[in-house]
Symmetry: C2
Subunit: 520 residues, 2 copies
Amino acid sequence: MGTTMTGAKAMIRTLVGAGVTTCFANPGTSEMHFVAALDAEPGLRAVLGLFEGVATGAADGCARMTGVPAATLLHLGPGLGNGLANLHNARRAATPMVNIVGDHATGHERFDAPLQSDIATVARNVSPWIGRPAAPEELCRVTAEAVAAASAPPGQVATLILPADVSWSDGATPAPPLPDVTRTTVDDTVVDDVAAALRSGAPAALLLGGATLRRHHLAAAAGIAGATRARVLATTFVARTERGAGIPAVEKLQYLGELAATQLDGLRHLVLVDAAHPASFFAYPGKPSDLVPAGCTVHVLAGPADDALDALARVADLVGGKTDVAALPDAPLPARPTGPLTGAALAAAVANVLPEGAVVSDESATNSLWMSAATVGCPSHDWLQLTGGAIGQGLPVAVGAAVASPDRPVFALEADGSAMYTIQSLWTMARESLDVTTVIMNNRSYAILNMELARTGAGEAGPQARDLLDLSRPDIDFVRLAEGMGVPAVAAHTAEEAIEALERAAAEPGPHLIDAILQR
Amino acid sequence: MGTTMTGAKAMIRTLVGAGVTTCFANPGTSEMHFVAALDAEPGLRAVLGLFEGVATGAADGCARMTGVPAATLLHLGPGLGNGLANLHNARRAATPMVNIVGDHATGHERFDAPLQSDIATVARNVSPWIGRPAAPEELCRVTAEAVAAASAPPGQVATLILPADVSWSDGATPAPPLPDVTRTTVDDTVVDDVAAALRSGAPAALLLGGATLRRHHLAAAAGIAGATRARVLATTFVARTERGAGIPAVEKLQYLGELAATQLDGLRHLVLVDAAHPASFFAYPGKPSDLVPAGCTVHVLAGPADDALDALARVADLVGGKTDVAALPDAPLPARPTGPLTGAALAAAVANVLPEGAVVSDESATNSLWMSAATVGCPSHDWLQLTGGAIGQGLPVAVGAAVASPDRPVFALEADGSAMYTIQSLWTMARESLDVTTVIMNNRSYAILNMELARTGAGEAGPQARDLLDLSRPDIDFVRLAEGMGVPAVAAHTAEEAIEALERAAAEPGPHLIDAILQR
């Protein structure tokens, strides 16, 4: 009965009604009606990226900060392809996202026009939920289902394939949002089992992952640790970690399997809290992929869709654990660095500048260890990591985090090699005047691959092999790249220059880039 | 019996033995043994791209020029995703390519490590042939099959998924190449039918596509046209066209369906020669997708795997067609342009500079009409086009063409919006000292989308919509971008500056970029 309108308008109204208010877009012809409808439905803010990997990564970063789905707008199968790597990362981050992929009009498919491809097949890899409304009459129901699927714990990418004629035709009616799905309460038997294991006195650890690296979860885990001497560990790569002053620090499992195995050595109980069974990131000749030591029992306290905070609180109650976060000792800040700009000096510089409430997008690769260690005593902040191993996420996530949190300064700590995958992000930072300080860790190499080449036992690298891991010849001048996209930039060659540049960037609103030329 | 070696070494030896001598790579940890083996097997040249879309597009450009498969080396599913758009274009170009995607070791999959994904599912969309050897003993057989599948007419992307342990383990033996597959000879009945239709006197046209826009095919088609008054048309987007002085010119079907329909209006016979049934690129409300007029009979003279040159020659024999290419009139060159730098002036500038034997990678979007019209009378050259509609192909294809043809000057005619998808290509041009002159057609907008917004009938664009099609705020400074990646660059604001910059770039070897600031 109600008034009908074009699919595009009704879809946008449905999205906004369900709380989806930001869309990171790189549209083409098949999305033109959606684009044209934006002005009639101003509740949805559209942010342009010059490459789809920027749009998908930014939607990930945005939703990590808001907790509600962000949308994308991509152009057919190739647009989805360009966005796929950061959708992979979003899948691993369990980020709620409505991934809108425009398609040819339904009657046009049979001509196999140049841009025709099988969008659903590509999307399946990153998006458990896929919808493709065939008519404007069903578009808004499917849209509401997409938002609900994206939002249901733990969160996921939901892909809605939007044929151009479904978008442009009249006959659609906005749909109300579907009811929220809440997290599952963990059974008493599970809680009891974990509490008993932790009280047994045998060496034990909690391993926190997923959405549990937050202030309250960490406090509950710290209480359990205080009462039982269980250790608290965290998975290596986490979508969002609350850390800094007033928040219990947590020991991360190391990226290198050998080191992670040492951390887990001797454990008799490992309690997974929204965390996967620990395995090495890659396999290596003659090394085990499974990192859990023999004789260690693995308990699952909470899975990804469970209410892990409630489960942790109940375990804490059973073991008599409490944490007074106000009494936590302040972790020390590193001294103000001077001299050569090493990875450690740069990390100390960042730690000396990072303000209360900052959001850090960390894709610093080989320098991440320095960065996370140096900043643990900073004022409280959020730390966003690369979750799926597909590099090129850090700058887009910073874009999205800044769009989501305009009142919080964002720092993108970015390895040079990784930065080049989605360097177009800088343009969106400039266009939207985002308060992002990008620090390029410029070591002129895929340094992590030099390390991996040795670790894989592939033997001594010859000139061809070394060439493929080397980013010099020519050196990349990130100052010029940034300026070319409208972002003020400066190079830093010493710790003093780095500190000065960071302080200036922090003092001025809007985007900045610091090309930190690291000593090799 | 024979000596065995690691999978990586034997695979490279197999590739080289089958004629695959260039690999465009963006490797990660799972590809380290392949990388390390390159120095032992120097027949395979590895060229680094800083983004996978550069690698896949360059492999496409390389193979378009050599006619034999080029290889890629990509890092798991996300690497494939980043390369997918240009693999889509390569699929549409029927380019022979061996797309090597490294994967986790076979035993590592069950841990669902962060980079785990379903590679084959993603590849299926662009690669009809997919192989995944499970052991080094079968790797080289599968590799030889991949090369054969890629090479079989008309050419295709063949994806070989290479588990890390299959690459690093001993036990592989190089395999010899499989026999070549030749093109199919078209039946006499088909040739006779086409000849009869063309001799009927009813309005007729040949529509050439695929691999038939070459010197000899065009000469045969021109002979047929001379004898029968049939017109010779070409599909809008062609992987490689030989054109210029001494080569019969051909009328292209226009991108805009309305114009293409006008070109086909009144035809009674349309003869497809390695060309798809003409359809509009996109669908539009109330407009037909099928461009063939009512009452026109469509004949298929040759499909993609057929010997179209032989078929054309046989039709020419039957209709008594001959072409004396030496007697072809010279198409005029445009006058040396002066004054404001419009699209037409820039095209005239390029036409005045384009040397004999040049290779043009054309992704000039809205300016492509000017460019192709202005250059038809230039010395003979090759023209490579965007075949699949996934923008971001022009610069990578120029990289690959320059690697394949080091003695030929390459010109990349590149729209500003399209350039930004794979701008990392400039770095590879600098690293490899490729003789590529990139001309950015900088109109500070997705100009084609402004046109499409109007054509789709989406209504008047409001501020949000206009913003999504606009590339100013900030303007992109391509000179800085190029210099940041080691490519000498200059901006041109007038026709005189454009000519001067083009002449200087043509005179100096190595890469150059000209940021042509077009009048709006």
